[in-house]
Amino acid sequence: MEIQKKLNVFIPYIILAVILVIMGIYQPGVINFNWLNRQADAWVTLALVGIGQTLVFMIGGTDLSVGGLISFTNCLAAAYMPDSVGGIVLFSFGILLAGAAAGMFNGFIIVKFRLQPFIATLTTWAIWSGAALCILSVDGGKVPRAFTKALLYKFGSVKVSLLILAALIIIGVFFKVSRLGIAVLAVGSNEKGAYFGGINVTRTKILVYTISGFLAACSGLFRTAQVSSGSPTAGDSFILLSCAAAVIGGCSIVTGYYSFAGAVMGAVIMRLLTSLMVAVGVSSYMTSLLQGVILIVSVCISSFTAIFHNRKKMEVDM
């Protein structure tokens, strides 16, 4: 049991090391600080959603609506963001609020009507991506220069994205020992037990979905700044990728382990796959195939943990 627990924790770092070594062999000298700076932009969008997805996984749910929310916030920002600085700030806050509210709505319908999380968030995914299509039917829109500059700003030689990644990892350490972090673990491992232990299960669940929605909106804003245009299908790939990032990140509801750092590593791994394939010279058509395989394999690894856990508890293996 102990070994399996540790295996889950170290898997993201091992995979990352392997990928970096392979890339180093095929393209020596590519990996340096500048490369890190460039890549961080792609990583941060996925890491944000991956962390949200990790938290949702830890309470035994799934959030498919992140895809719709990213498309929606992306289109909203690309279509309507004003040019003045004050307007940009207000608008960004408005979008973040909208994301949080959308997440809260997910949590509310899941808790109140006892819907299965993946079905409930599937419907909200359809709703948000439909709304995104209503705003922008094709890729396009215009993003104020100031907004793009602010989110791609460099402090000395360090990009904002890189700082945010570091900040997320640090926040994760504190989040785990916070009141909400502990409540998340309690709800995930045994809902009834948590309820009788005096934890407000409803509130915890709704809060976690709210956080996930909020992070998806953040990711949508980042994507807007990086691409400086809007796309109604921007978020669709994020669903699979965020699940994969969370699972590779080593979160497991059975062993009760999760970390923001793991989720960030998971996101980095998923993003590096494309670069890896370019480096090794595999057709980029294989990207989605490989992503699917990696997702399923990593889920299998973590479900083996669950199966062993059940065996130990002498639970039937159906």
């Binding site: 993946f118 709703i127 209503c134 699979l240 989605s288 699917g292 399923i296």
Partner: protein
């Protein structure tokens, strides 16, 4: 007679769905005179056959409390494999059909194996499978989506008896067969047992894993047939031809009275859902609704269907005095 009465009483909702469908056509044809004409009804019926097959497939995983999100690329691969195989690889049509059906069964078996034996969550497994199929398809065809459909299939998809398309009759026959499988065969009994309570089914000696795995194979096969009919109807295959169907099949299943928690519902019910969705889809096309509005509506409809279902369950719980 008693039996029929009982069946009607248990399925009022589904009967209601069929009545609503007829009423919708009648009411809309008052506003748009062509809507209720025989030629348009014939178009609706062949739309129903495509969506119907996908929905029939979706019914089975949902009955076990799972979900099949690989429908879009399952149908897309079926169409592309057939066309690409015949046009570019020079396969005979027999070989191509066998390849398509075998491929669908294999993909379904892999999903089912992952879900039933390796305990991967159905949503993750099938969505991953969707991604894998997409990648494999792109890699195999190098991004050229197959080309034109063989004449035989086009002829089959467009053939009509009177005003009723042959594919719709084919669909109806398969629906009846699957209904019999659900209600009369040992496999059907096992399926409902697993859907209602996996644990109880396990202790009653049902091979839970095998039962679950087979549902995904049925789903894959149905999606492939749906894809073939669609490619026959359109006359060619293209990448992304199934993308809009993921939400639609689920919405149809939910409207058709199949509980997302599993164990309740049948194919006649899900067909009623498919019928209503087909009509609504056609109305939206008549109204020139944008794809965005359409998708938004699917989401809202699916959500409403789920919430209504959940409310009924909660009322039931209150009546039964259980938690």
């Amino acid at each position: 007679m008693e039996k029929i009465k009982g069946a009607v009483r248990n399925n009022t909702e589904i009967l209601g769905n069929y009545l609503i469908a007829v009423a919708l056509v009648v009411v809309i044809s008052l506003f748009y005179s062509g809507f209720g004409s025989l030629s348009h009804i014939s178009v609706l019926l062949s739309d129903l056959a495509i969506l119907g097959f996908l929905v029939l497939g979706q019914t089975f995983p949902v009955l076990t409390g799972g979900i099949d999100m690989s429908v879009p690329y399952m149908m897309n691969s079926a169409a592309v494999i057939l066309n690409y195989g015949i046009n570019t690889k020079g396969w005979g049509s027999g070989t191509a059909f066998v390849a398509v059906l075998a491929g669908a069964l294999l993909a379904g078996a892999v999903s089912g194996f992952g879900i039933a034996y390796l305990k991967v969550h159905p949503m993750i497994m099938t969505y991953g499978m969707n991604s894998i199929l997409m990648g494999a398809l792109l890699f195999w065809t190098k991004g050229t989506a197959g080309g034109f459909t063989p004449q035989g299939l086009v002829g089959f998809a467009k053939a009509k008896i009177g005003f009723i398309p042959v594919v719709t009759i084919f669909f109806g026959a398969i629906m009846v067969v699957l209904m019999l499988v659900l209600k009369r065969s040992a496999y059907g009994k096992r399926l409902y047992a697993v859907g209602n309570c996996r644990r109880a089914a396990y202790f009653s000696g049902v091979n839970v894993r095998q039962t679950v795995m087979i549902t995904y194979m049925i789903s894959a096969l149905c999606a492939a047939v749906g894809g073939l009919i669609m490619s026959g109807r359109v006359g060619q295959s293209y990448l992304g031809m199934g993308d809009s169907y993921m939400f639609i099949t689920l919405a149809a299943v939910a409207i058709g009275g199949i509980s997302m928690n599993g164990g309740k519902g049948h194919t006649v019910g899900s067909t009623s859902g498919a019928l209503i969705i087909t009509i609504v889809l056609s109305v939206l096309t008549v109204l020139k609704a944008s794809p965005g509005v359409q998708q938004l509506l699917y989401g809202v409809v699916l959500l409403l269907a789920l919430v209504l279902e959940a409310n009924k369950l909660q009322l039931g719980r209150k009546k039964g005095g259980k938690l």
